[in-house]
């Protein structure tokens, strides 16, 4: 393993993490909810209507975040190497997987680990493991 020092951004990443933590903190302390994006989105597609307002509001906040960001700083250009077929397969896996496993990077990874939940620790270890293996297969074994 070699460390990619040119792309390593310790301070901005730590700062981003702290801001994510603040968003999750606001959500649990003001709304009493766990900021698990897949769960919030999934709940919107299946549960009752009286539950919908806070879900839509939080998701709308996520969608509005880039516009708010642009008020203060220039847009960040992402590197998206995946083609349409890969994006479709990845999206399907993420949709089915987060529903079946009841959570994603935010719900299990950030909020669950913050709650010291063993269930979320196992989930996080599982998706990280699968992420490492998938990137290894895609980039090194079959590249």
């Amino acid at each position: 393993m070699t460390v990619d020092w040119t792309h390593f951004t310790p301070w901005t990443s730590l700062a981003g993490g702290i801001v994510i933590g603040l968003g999750a903190a606001m959500f649990v302390l003001l709304n009493g909810r766990v900021a698990g994006i897949s769960g919030i989105l999934g709940g919107l597609l299946v549960t009752k209507r009286e539950d919908a307002a806070w879900r839509i509001a939080f998701l709308a906040g996520l969608l509005a975040a880039p516009a708010v960001w642009l008020l203060a700083a220039p847009a960040v250009q992402p590197r998206i190497d995946a083609g349409i077929g890969t994006l479709l397969a990845a999206g399907l896996l993420v949709g089915v997987g987060t529903s079946y496993g009841s959570g994603c990077t935010s719900g299990h990874g950030v909020c669950g680990l913050s709650r010291l939940s063993p269930r979320s620790l196992i989930a996080t270890a599982s998706f990280m493991f699968a992420g490492f293996v998938t990137v290894y297969l895609a980039r090194h074994a079959f590249a």
């Binding site: 994510i20 999750a24 606001m26 989105l41 307002a53 906040g61 992402p78 190497d81 399907l92 959570g103």
Partner: protein, 148 residues
């Protein structure tokens, strides 16, 4: 008030994802690429978020109401079962394939990224496929349990 606070929390959370580089799939894959040249940044994103989260959730756990007086809804499920592990493995595979997870994908959709739109559409389809499959599996059982 609850709707407003949820919207504000979503904006803050989303801006954190942008600052942390989570909305850049190239950076996410750089973190997942242990065998290549590894970018450890995302570990610090997780660390920073959990650092704040430990205090917030530690405080929330000791309360029955929110600061606005509403009910506290913390997850009660503590089961470690095959569903949890298989679902998380599938999710991780999808995450590694494209470098998107649900939150950053929605933020990127908000930024007008067409590829994020494709990913989000497939993700919604995935959720709906799961819901339909669950209904197919559980509906006959529920019917059978009902007294004739």
């Amino acid at each position: 008030m609850n709707t407003l606070s949820a919207f504000a929390a979503g904006i803050v959370f989303g801006i954190g994802l942008i600052i942390g580089g989570m909305t850049d799939p190239g950076k996410v894959i750089g973190f997942l690429d242990l065998a290549g040249s590894w970018d450890p940044s995302l570990g610090l994103v997780m660390g920073g978020a959990i650092l704040v989260g430990l205090f917030a959730f530690g405080f929330a756990k000791r309360r029955t109401t929110t600061l606005l007086g509403g009910a506290m809804h913390l997850p009660k499920n503590s089961d470690i079962d095959p569903r949890l592990i298989i679902g998380s493995l599938l999710f991780g595979a999808g995450w590694g394939l494209a470098g998107f997870c649900p939150g950053p994908a929605l933020v990127s959709l908000g930024a007008g990224q067409e590829k994020a739109a494709v990913f989000v559409a497939a993700m919604l389809a995935g959720i709906l496929i799961y819901v339909a499959a669950e209904r197919l599996i559980h509906e006959p059982r529920r019917r059978a349990r009902r007294p004739a």
